[in-house]
């Protein structure tokens, strides 16, 4: 990076450190923080979308749809989320390949599961064997995002389902008295009012989502945990210009501080948002604000 880094053996102290922390590998490490932020930016809205459909279908009058919605909400209560992460990454991949296999190779007559192998025809493989490395990485990241969205969608569905029930019943009755259909009541009365009830749950969910991002490592993505492990490990002088001992502890300390800062900043912003949204509301929070100003 810097011009004086040409011969690391002659350096010492802070100059050595400044060269060490700007090697190409470290740049990739810093970029992987971007991966985490990208995951959050994509997952948060898509999980909200999954959650919205989950909550809406749990309220449905058609019982198979309602059962599906309620089952989706209930299942994550009893089972560790990490199990879901490990399950969905393989299951989604195999599911996609199976569908493509059915469509692309209709005259394939052998079973797909042969002993311990999962065999689909060559055209159905995802991603195709001859594609570039970055396609594989993007596909892996896409699977991870989908997995996160499904799992956190269930949590969000739980929050939104509760929020929909918290909207005062009189509002719904009034809408019915005005002759609104069920669909109109849902979109015009229920959905606009539920957000203030959902916000505490959703902001809690955001904190949980932030703290779940290191689990990307388990899904096989080269994220910050991956880089912290590989960069921090003992560096042998034979293979690197910057030999050092086992520094993994310090790398993970840095990650710990990163997450502490991230959650603290989120907390401050969410508090502000809550203050803004409760202003003028007929809730105890809104009442407290009124008393302060009065």
């Amino acid at each position: 990076m810097f011009s004086y880094c040409a011969d690391p053996d002659t350096l010492s102290g802070l100059t050595w450190l400044s060269c060490y922390l700007t090697t190409g590998k470290h740049m990739q490490f810093y970029l992987s923080f971007g991966t985490v932020l990208l995951l959050l930016a994509i997952t948060a809205p898509s999980a909200l979308l999954f959650g919205f459909f989950g909550a809406a279908s749990a309220r449905s009058r058609i019982w198979p749809v309602a059962w599906f919605g309620k089952g989706y909400i209930a299942i994550v209560r009893g089972v560790p989320d990490i199990a879901f992460f490990l399950f969905f990454v393989i299951a989604l991949d195999q599911g996609f390949e199976w569908v493509r296999h059915q469509v692309l190779c209709p005259d394939w007559d052998q079973p797909i599961r042969q002993g311990n192998d999962f065999i689909v025809c060559a055209q159905a493989k995802l991603p195709r064997g001859n594609t570039a490395q970055w396609v594989h990485e993007v596909y892996g990241f896409f699977l991870a995002v989908l997995t996160f969205s499904i799992v956190f969608g269930a949590f969000a569905a739980n929050v939104l389902f509760g929020a929909m029930r918290a909207v005062p019943h009189a509002q719904i009755e009034t809408a019915e008295a005005y002759g609104m259909s069920r669909r109109q009541t849902f979109w015009r009365i229920l959905v606009p009012q539920m957000w203030v009830y959902a916000l505490p749950g959703l902001s809690n969910l955001w904190m949980v989502l932030v703290k779940a991002t290191p689990l990307l490592f388990l899904l096989g993505i080269e994220d910050i945990v991956y880089w912290a492990r590989s960069l921090g490990g003992t560096a042998n002088p034979r293979f690197t210009e910057y030999p050092h001992g086992d520094w993994r502890m310090w790398y993970f300390l840095a990650l710990l501080i990163f997450y502490l800062g991230f959650t603290r900043i989120s907390e401050i912003y969410l508090e502000r948002l809550m203050l803004k949204l409760t202003r003028g509301q007929a809730t105890s929070g809104g009442e407290a604000q009124r008393k302060v100003t009065a």
């Binding site: 311990n116 809690n204 993970f252």
Partner: protein, 268 residues
Amino acid sequence: MSCWQTVQDYGLRSLGIGERLLPREGFTLCEQVTLIGSGLLWNIYFGALALLAGFFLATALAVGKGAKNRAIRKSASWFIFVFRGSPLFIQFFFAYFAFLQLKSVSPAFDPFTSAWLGALIVLFFNTAAYSGEIFYGALRSIPKGDIEAADAYGFSGWPRFRRIVWPTMLRLAWPAYTNEAIFLFHATTLVFFSGFPAWQQRGDALYYANFFADKTFNPFVPYPILAGYFILLTLGIIAFFGLINRRLNRHLPQSARRGLKLRINIIR
């Protein structure tokens, strides 16, 4: 090989008792159910001990966070913030590598690098921080009248805390604390995925489920088995905590008793 034979061979495999080698091929349903169930023993071990020890530290932290002394208040708040504000996964990694460093200083830290002690300590601190925050919230919502009545009866200091404040705090915090217990048991599945080695392949339930999914390349059998075990475990926790909840609320009139209304609030 009959299923009963498999249970005898692998039922306590996660503790190192029984058959040494894990099955290599032709994985039967029985083997999967047995081994995953055997791994569940570790989850129960981590969860139960961390919860039990964490309960006492959590009470201390809650009282500390509400203390008048600034030093005590600040240190309790920081402890809670550090453990609640960072992911458990990173805490495990950090603790494991920190113990590795300490091990090179003194062999006394040798057991800390294995999961049974090192991971237990992290879980203990973690659950203490989360429950401490729950208890602190409950402490602040104890009805003013209860404290005033205690004062009027001449209670003060330790007897007042022991007989009035603490039971009321537990009663108010219990539904949230039940939730915390459920998620603590779920969090124990992270242990063997976060640095701590599964020595001689003695792992927890998720470790074995992952082992089978990798070997058979079929996630649709081991993970539902794991899910079944955990749903049973969760129901067990709810039943056990429900019993305590009934005892805590036994002085209240029947209609005023609050059932355990559970909701999702925290995972790490």
